[in-house]
């Protein structure tokens, strides 16, 4: 994927985006035009960069965990936390309940730590970041240079196990916002990290969360102080570069009373024939009247057309609306990975809190996705909305799995769920598993679902107007996803549409 910054650069170059007359219909349709500019023909981020990389020996054991903790110069409490998670992990079995076919993962046959070797002392400014690292991000379309301020997006760039740069830190600090790598946060803000680490996704939450807690390397940390609207979008860009390496990052975002933040996450990986594991944990905490908007465009390497290689994306993402009237919105566009196992969820604890989940999941070729959300209503008058759009093409399998749980305390809880599936071709599958559990009679829970095949009539209508079949398919699919794309920040929306087209390449005809 491209970075927020270059995307914005493209936008500013395109005259269409000059808002001449905001009321004109063109303002509403302009993003599609930019799609043309960012179209690629195939997975274009599959290159790998020869960085001088330090890796931990292959395998998973307490020594490796001590190695990671030592490399990160962590305090003892954190090492103990890791070891405790690891000992629990040893008692767990891999989950088998999703509708996924997974080749056995050999947890002893991968590296749990890989980091580009620093050339000399740690860089004190962006100018000192290894030029090869900078070149790699330039190639990905992500500029780490702060002078390119077109986007106004602060980026934390993570390669394999470590954060290599975080931009705009001083500007953010002026607003009181802390945005840094997880490792820096452990060093500089241990009290906040210790208070919230594992408070939403505990180290014993599930198999992959336990694994992550044991070996997590880096990730991003954000703290938005009370009453502050974060002055710019925050973004983390994850890159898997090294071979035979898993990526286990951990992200923690805490929004204090009355604050708000919009956070973007992007990911790509080098093309490799072996499957690589990505088992991340994301925790969000929103206090009274705080608002966290978390957007993901996931474009991990999906493997080749025959299903060889690709990332196993087994991620636990959860937010807690701890305060009253707090709000957490997840928006995800899932196009990559060989296998996706992911259920960004919201615990609606504070009264009148709001949880939202907007998702587009596209699978093509041999990809498999089992994704959805959990909305746990605890507080009074809590509201959740689920909007899921699944698109299956090729021989892929696409599953929506969602849980809406209304506890006895959740007086006046409301949920609306809509799940739509679109099939392209006849060899793919779409599946929907909604679980609803209501323990309070005052709750209103609605579920709507639809499955459709891409219409011959729609395709013919477009082709009769001179639009090619491929173009027409992309257009119809993007239309199908419109409600979700509308939730994304503009630059992400443009990129998401372009990605859809790339993902569905060759799925018609």
């Amino acid at each position: 994927m491209n970075s927020p910054s270059t995307r914005t650069a493209e936008l500013t170059e395109a005259p269409l985006f000059t808002p001449v007359d905001p009321a004109a219909p063109e303002a509403a349709v302009a993003p599609e035009d930019a799609v043309q500019a960012v179209i690629a023909r195939e997975y274009q981020y599959g290159f790998h960069t020869d960085l001088d990389t330090e890796v931990a020996p292959k395998g998973l054991n307490e020594d490796v965990i001590r190695f990671i903790s030592a490399r990160k110069e962590e305090p003892d409490w954190l090492l103990e936390w890791r070891l405790s998670a690891y000992r629990h992990f040893l008692t767990l079995d891999e989950p088998t309940w999703p509708r996924l076919e997974i080749d056995p993962i050999d947890y002893q046959d991968m590296h749990y730590w890989a980091a580009p070797k620093p050339k000399g002392p740690a860089p004190k400014s962006l100018d000192e970041v290894d030029p090869e690292v900078r070149a790699m991000f330039d190639k990905l379309g992500i500029s780490l240079a702060e002078q390119e301020r077109l986007s106004g997006v602060a980026v934390d760039a993570i390669i394999d196990s470590v954060s290599v740069a975080t931009t705009f830190q001083s500007q953010l600090a002026e607003a009181g916002v802390i945005f840094c790598s997880f490792s820096s946060a452990v060093r500089d803000h241990p009290e906040i990290v210790r208070k919230h680490l594992g408070s939403v996704v505990g180290p014993r939450d599930n198999f992959f969360a336990a694994l992550n807690a044991a070996v997590f390397s880096d990730g991003s940390f954000c703290y938005i102080p009370a009453g502050v609207a974060c002055p710019m979008e925050l973004s983390t860009y994850f890159r898997i570069n090294a071979a035979d390496t898993g990526q286990f990052e951990r992200t923690l975002i805490v929004a204090a009373e009355g604050s708000s933040v919009s956070y973007l996450e992007g990911c790509t990986a080098a093309m490799r024939d072996e499957n690589q594991l990505h088992a991340a944990v994301v925790e969000l905490v929103a206090m009274d009247d705080a608002h966290i908007k978390y957007s993901t465009v996931q474009n991990w390497y999906p493997g080749d057309a025959d299903g060889k290689g690709g990332i196993y994306n087994f991620v636990t993402k959860r937010g807690r609306c701890q305060g009253e009237r707090s709000r957490i919105s997840w928006t995800q566009v899932e196009t990559g990975s060989a296998i996706t196992w992911k259920y960004p969820s919201v615990i609606l604890q504070g009264d009148d809190s709001v949880g939202e989940f907007h998702s587009v999941a596209v699978t093509n070729n041999r990809q498999q996705a089992d994704t959805g959300t959990k909305m746990i209503h605890i507080g009074r008058n809590t509201t959740s909305t689920i909007l899921s759009k699944g698109i299956s093409a090729g021989r892929s399998q696409n599953t929506y799995r969602g849980q809406v749980k209304v506890l006895r305390s959740a007086v006046g809880a409301r949920n609306h769920t809509q799940c739509d599936s679109l099939l392209i071709g006849s060899d793919c599958g779409a599946h929907t598993f909604p679980y609803i559990e209501v323990k309070n009679d005052s709750a209103q829970v609605e579920h709507e679902a639809s499955t459709s095949r891409i219409g011959e009539d729609q395709l013919f209508y477009c082709r009769q107007r001179g639009i090619s079949e491929e173009e027409a398919t992309a257009m119809i699919v993007n239309g199908f996803c419109r409600d979700v794309f509308d939730q994304l920040p503009m630059e992400f929306a443009v990129e998401a549409q372009a990605l859809m087209r790339v993902s569905l390449e060759g799925s018609v005809g």
């Binding site: 349709v29 082709r463 639009i467 119809i476 239309g479």
Partner: protein, 249 residues
């Protein structure tokens, strides 16, 4: 311009068109009338390239074998169909759809494409002529449009795509008298010496507003009678039944 000779079309083993001949010259407006099931919509589907049919015979368009072209190439060559039942495409803006179509065809013809502003100016002009609400441009293609709005949207597309051969398939069906007048005026305005039209209709009432040069009767997959505009009146009075003793629908 268009030469159709001995055209047959079958679907699932049923022959719908059974040796149809029709010749349309530049700038001519032809009407094909006929009872339900005569093959009228099959004719428009075959001419625009729907691939559900087995076809024999020839169709030559501007000297080219039309049947060998893909639907989008036919569109680029200037063939346009105003659909009887325009398709809804949820989430795709009408304006974006129209401009994509116009530019796809312009590109295929190596003509310069239109930017958003140029296009908007052109579209607004046509909208006004068709007494259409500007808001229809920002809504999704045909989604939630009334029957009349869908038909006007077809004529809007025809005006913007500037085809050299337009097929109007039952464009008058489902229109109230005011909408019919506006749509007919829109069609009449697009009449030109460079543009031929084939109006397919069940009822003669559209032909009171758009006067055809030639009228053909299509029955049981063949043209059974050809005449001038007066033939439409005759049909209105006597129905299709008088023509071959067949039962009028």
């Amino acid at each position: 311009m268009l030469h159709i000779d001995s055209l047959t079309a079958s679907i699932d083993g049923n022959q719908i068109l059974k040796g149809l001949d029709l010749h349309i010259g530049p700038g001519e407006v032809h009407a094909v009338m006929g009872p339900n099931g005569a093959g009228k919509s099959t004719l428009s589907a075959v001419l625009t390239g729907r691939d559900d049919y087995e076809i024999t015979g020839t169709v030559t368009y501007k000297g080219e074998d039309l049947l060998s072209l893909s639907p989008e190439d036919r569109a680029a060559a200037g063939v346009f169909l105003a659909f009887q039942y325009p398709t809804e495409i949820p989430g795709v803006g009408n304006m974006y759809f129209l401009r994509t179509a116009v530019n796809a065809i312009r590109e295929a013809r190596s003509e310069p494409t239109m930017d958003a502003r140029e296009f908007l100016t052109a579209a607004r002009e046509q909208l006004a002529a068709l007494e259409m609400d500007q808001a229809l441009l920002s809504r999704a293609v045909n989604t939630g449009f009334s029957g009349g709005e869908k038909k006007r949207n077809e004529i809007l597309q025809m005006a913007l795509l500037e085809p050299s051969f337009a097929i109007l398939d039952e464009t008058d069906s489902g229109l109230d008298i005011d909408a019919l007048r506006v749509v007919a005026a829109g069609i009449e305005r697009l009449r030109s010496p460079e543009r031929s039209m084939l109006i397919i209709t069940h009822y003669p009432r559209l032909l009171e507003h758009v006067r055809p040069d030639h009228v053909h009767v299509l029955q049981d997959g063949r043209i059974t009678r050809t005449g001038g505009p007066e033939l439409a009146h005759e049909l209105e009075q006597d129905g299709y039944g008088t023509l071959e003793g067949a039962i009028s629908s």
